[in-house]
Amino acid sequence: MSVLVTLAGFVLALVLASALGGLVLLRARLGPGPLAHLVRALLGLALLASFHAHAAVGLTLATLIAAATWRGHGLEDALVADERKSNVVALGAIAVALVAIVSRPPVPLFASESAHVALARALSLREVLPTADRSLLLPLMTSALSLGSDATDALAMSGSLVGGLCFALFALLLARSSRTGWDEALPLVVLASAPFAWVLLRSVSVELPVGLAAGSMVLGAERAGKGDRLGAPAAITAALLLAMADEGIVLAVAVALSLALVPGARDAHRAALLAVICLGLASVAERWGAPRLELFDPAPSTARELVSEALRHVADIATWGLVPAVGLAALVASFRRAAPEEPRRLAVTLLLTLAMFLAALVLAPIELRERALDGGLLDRLALELLPLLALLIAEGVRATLPSPPAE
């Protein structure tokens, strides 16, 4: 199947998903614009997993979201446009990302890619699924975006483009939250400075999309706190996308907790809490009836080994550049007394997530711990924190300047 046919099907699927999302957000008054359309489309896609679990669950979740966003309140789009004249940087970055994705042969080259595409193919063929040891959201989105095709190239490209859609959500929300081109570009530059991000951006993976969804949830909740009517729907959509990975709920809870714990977020924590509730409902519904895994096999003595292994991973300059080192500096700087709340909130989110990841690995079954210590897990978990780290570094650059920052 040619790339053009696959892309045409992809666009058609996006339009259909946008119609479903638009139905749920009918009274949210999101208005026009690329971000509003993208939020509708991604919400429609993210709801697929709930409808797949059970129609009643999907309807319940859709009703909850529709009620929560009924008659959206906040700034008119014109006011937002006054704050920020253009999102040229974001659109340029999205174009670069899409070219990078499409230029790679649409073939699953990595084992993890093959596993996701195999699940998507099974869904397209309506086969009985093997014991699901992972979330079905990415395979469902992949199958839907390829219009139910079972062709490997269509599935592989659609799966990769899910990452592109998550990147677009992050970049457009960043543009909406930024006052200057520098504010908008800096987190994207930090992201691009981690070569590992380029590798997974061009493949079918959950880690980068989940990280971008976590960053989008932060940005969406903060927009909601500032009265932007797109904020809450964007935060909820991003939270639902976090269901792509089991650890997504950890990121969502960390975001909501940090918004609640660090003062100054106004109503943002309410939007984040609502998003966590939606994610929780969707996750429970999807995994309902799945075989119970052995959840606890605590080994506290391995904590030191895990931390040591994590440090070894993030010290690899070829994989991460110096993003972790600069991120560490930004994290420490954000706790200075003079620092504003935004970077401190992001720092708290990162610390909470790291603590929960470590606790989960220490308590996890031995197989998962062995995988982490064997080098096949920690880099991917770290990638899920990269967009949050990028936001923190961009905030940290001006954290100690006398406010408002001189431009």
Partner: protein, 181 residues
């Protein structure tokens, strides 16, 4: 293929906690420098941003070189790797479609198993069977597949791997799992 997405080019899979070494020290030094830079209020915002972008861009060069010129999925080699994967996938799927189902008897090629499992979605034989076995030997991607005595043989028989890796004998139709080492 298996390790391709973990690390950019050289993060070793084994050896927990070892080898932080020089790169860790470099990272720590940069962190301290960046921290002192961040907390100096006399440095202008523009200077901070320019310094940050330059530092990150320079540090990304080794990884960018690996992504563009070293990795198996580098742009110049991605097409070849993709062709090999597609050839294996299509061979396995065509074999399984022709016989109604198939199953993996030999799994010496770790990198190929995921591709073969993708090809066998909806076509895996259920229960014990001697029909339509597939043997994946270590060089399956490079060599491709051919039918031999009713089986699909991908790659060439690797006796050393069979002995050292405990891979089941090709002519043992019931040995579906490798023996534990």
């Amino acid at each position: 293929m298996v390790d391709g997405a973990d690390g950019v080019c050289r993060a070793p899979r084994l050896g927990a906690g070892r080898g932080v070494g020089m790169e860790g020290l470099v990272g720590l030094a940069v962190a301290v420098l960046a921290l002192s830079w961040f907390v100096r209020t006399r440095v202008s915002l523009r200077a901070r941003r320019v310094a940050l972008v330059l530092t990150l861009a320079l540090a990304a060069l080794p990884g960018a070189y690996a992504v563009l010129f070293v990795r198996a999925d580098r742009p110049s080699a991605a097409d070849r790797a993709a062709r090999q994967v597609v050839r294996l996938h299509d061979g396995v799927r065509a074999f399984a479609v022709e016989r109604g189902c198939a199953w993996l008897r030999t799994e010496s090629c770790t990198a190929c198993v995921a591709t073969a499992e993708l090809a066998l979605v909806g076509l895996t034989c259920e229960g014990e069977t001697t029909q339509a076995p597939i043997d994946l030997f270590t060089d399956a991607l490079a060599v491709g597949c051919a039918e031999v005595d009713g089986a699909l043989r991908c790659g060439t028989v690797d006796d050393d791997a069979r002995i050292e890796g405990g891979v089941p004998m090709v002519d043992d139709p019931f040995a579906r799992e490798p023996e534990p080492r």
